[in-house]
């Protein structure tokens, strides 16, 4: 199996990818330049809006602390996300294939989804203390619902005619699943995985805001309290980069797993 887009050599594809993004890169550069000069020109105070150059130099000065924090946060994000994926996809299968699970557990899940997950965060501190576990749990909670909901939709969205065809071959349940239902569900599953990925970084930072003594969220609060605005900016940029990297990692996997679907999507640059 190979998608149409995969036939061109890789360097050529990266090059055209860059060409398509050249406008965007230029726009960002312009923005940073304007920012730098505007701050100098109007004499804006550093604790209000530091220039990009200052953000960079402050970051370099404390990069050890920041990178250690980033590592902590990344662990929480990936741990919670992987946990969410590992639990929600099998659960979605159970919901899609068992009337019993669908009528008992699924309504509860749909109901729980309405609770503002972040509001539960303080409770987790009471229950589970300060460590890694409550943070994993919050990331898990935020990623879990979108993945479950879209995977259920995916597993249920089988074309009845395709099912009729498959049944007319007398295919065993296992073949039916691996050759028809799973491939057909994958596009929607990936939609959920990407929504989850986009939420995961936010979830980890919020968890750290509530209570922690390490991680980027913790550092953000510390620097903010001390009015060290350049560091606040540095951490925000770093967090965005982590979020983006995770999102694109999932999208990259999507390209490998379901090339037939990715290449028929109209636009490539999907917004977060």
């Amino acid at each position: 199996m190979s998608g149409a887009g995969a036939s061109r050599p890789l360097p050529a594809r990266i090059l055209t990818g860059l060409q398509q993004r050249i406008g965007m890169i230029a726009a960002f550069l312009m923005l940073f330049l304007l920012w730098e000069f505007a701050v100098k020109l109007f004499g804006i105070k550093e604790y209000l809006l530091p220039p990009p150059s200052k953000i960079w130099s402050e970051f370099l000065k404390r990069q050890n602390v920041v990178m250690a924090g980033a590592w902590t946060t990344l662990t929480e994000i990936l741990g919670g996300y992987v946990l969410a994926v590992a639990i929600s996809i099998p659960l979605a299968m159970a919901i899609a294939y068992s009337r019993f699970v669908e009528t008992t557990i699924y309504p509860v899940i749909v109901f729980l989804q309405i609770i503002p997950k972040i509001a539960i965060a303080p409770l987790f501190i009471i229950w589970f203390g300060f460590g890694l576990f409550p943070k994993l749990l919050i990331v898990f909670l935020l990623c879990f619902f979108p993945v479950v909901v879209s995977s259920v939709a995916g597993f249920k969205s089988v074309d009845p005619d395709v099912m009729d065809f498959a049944r007319s071959t007398g295919a065993s349940p296992a073949r039916m699943f691996f050759k028809i239902r799973l491939p057909q569900a994958l596009p929607e599953i990936f939609t959920g995985l990407k929504i989850g990925a986009a939420l995961s970084a936010t979830a980890a930072v919020v968890a750290e805001f509530v209570a922690s003594d390490r991680g980027l969220g913790y550092l953000l609060q510390q620097y903010n309290g001390q009015l060290e605005t350049p560091m606040v900016f540095a951490i925000i940029v770093l967090l965005s980069a982590i979020g983006l990297a995770i999102y694109y990692l999932v999208e990259f996997i999507e390209r490998l797993v379901i090339p037939w679907h990715v290449s028929q999507r109209p636009t490539e640059m999907t917004g977060l």
Partner: protein, 282 residues
């Protein structure tokens, strides 16, 4: 809709013959008795079929024509065991259908291909799902694809093909395992007139070689007459059999046959049936 599972396993477990082993002369008799169907949805009742009785001889080519919505597709699904009828029963090769009948090939009204497989793999999925060895059928699949003009497209994805090409793929998929019963639901509906004519000629040839019992649904009156041993004319919904017309024309149905007077008279007879029911008005 719960269905008995027993009937599913019996033909699935019977080993799929490798393509070159000759099968005993193809074609099974089909006996439809008192089949009726009602769809119930949200309190609404749609009477789709009303008492269908029909016996199809082994190896016979039967065409069904009828106005849109008269229950032709419903009848096909009931015969194939994909839908349990509200009343009546179907016997294939002397055995009562209860659950999907698997010793057949079906072409649905839309191509229903799998987006993630190439054209060749979409044909071979028939073998794959039956637990056979797709590799053993590769050459046969290629030959059949070439025969319907898709030789160069075997490695393309379905979305890269036109609607007619996809439908031709679906036809090959229904033939690849050389089934004794072929059920086709308006298989040429999406084809252009020229391809349609060619496919009609090819189908007759294939059928004459193998002699599989063929159940062919169509909107085309002349197509039905050109292909069938018997044409079943159905009434508007709820569908009943209005007339059964024996087509006594020589085969193969070459150009001389389909332009003959007798051919035109058969077509007229069917058209008049429809006019009586107000399906066709002048």
């Amino acid at each position: 809709m719960a269905r008995p599972v027993a009937a599913m396993s019996d033909s699935a477990s019977s080993k799929l013959a490798e393509p070159d082993t000759p099968r005993p002369a193809a074609g099974v008799p089909v006996e439809i008795s008192g089949v009726a169907h009602v769809f119930r949805r949200a309190g609404m009742e749609t009477r789709a079929l009303e008492r269908i009785d029909l016996s199809v001889r082994a190896g016979e080519f039967v065409a069904v024509v009828g106005p849109s919505g008269c229950g032709k597709s419903t009848l096909l699904k009931i015969i194939a065991g994909l839908l349990a009828p509200a009343a009546g029963q179907v016997e294939i090769a002397g055995r009562c259908v209860a659950g999907p009948h698997t010793d057949l090939g079906i072409v649905f009204q839309s191509p229903v291909l799998l987006d993630w497989r190439t054209i060749l793999d979409n044909v071979l999925v028939q073998i794959d799902l039956r637990g056979g060895r797709p590799a053993a059928y590769r050459d046969r699949a290629r030959a059949l694809l070439a025969k319907v003009g898709l030789g160069e497209f075997e490695n393309r994805m379905p979305r890269e093909l036109s609607g007619g090409m996809r439908q031709r793929t679906a036809i090959v998929r229904a033939l690849i395992h050389d089934p004794p019963l072929l059920m086709m639901d308006e298989p040429f509906g999406a084809l252009d007139a020229l391809t349609r004519e060619q496919m009609r000629i090819d189908l007759e040839k294939l059928w004459r070689e193998r002699g599989q019992t063929t159940f062919f649904i169509t909107h085309g009156i002349s197509e039905a007459v050109a292909l069938a041993d018997r044409v079943i004319v159905m009434t508007p919904r709820p569908g009943r059999i209005e007339r059964i017309i024996e087509i006594d024309l020589p085969r193969p149905r070459h150009k001389e046959v389909v332009t003959s007077r007798r051919f035109a008279e058969y077509c007229d007879e069917i058209t008049e049936c429809f006019m009586r029911h107000g399906v066709i008005q002048y």
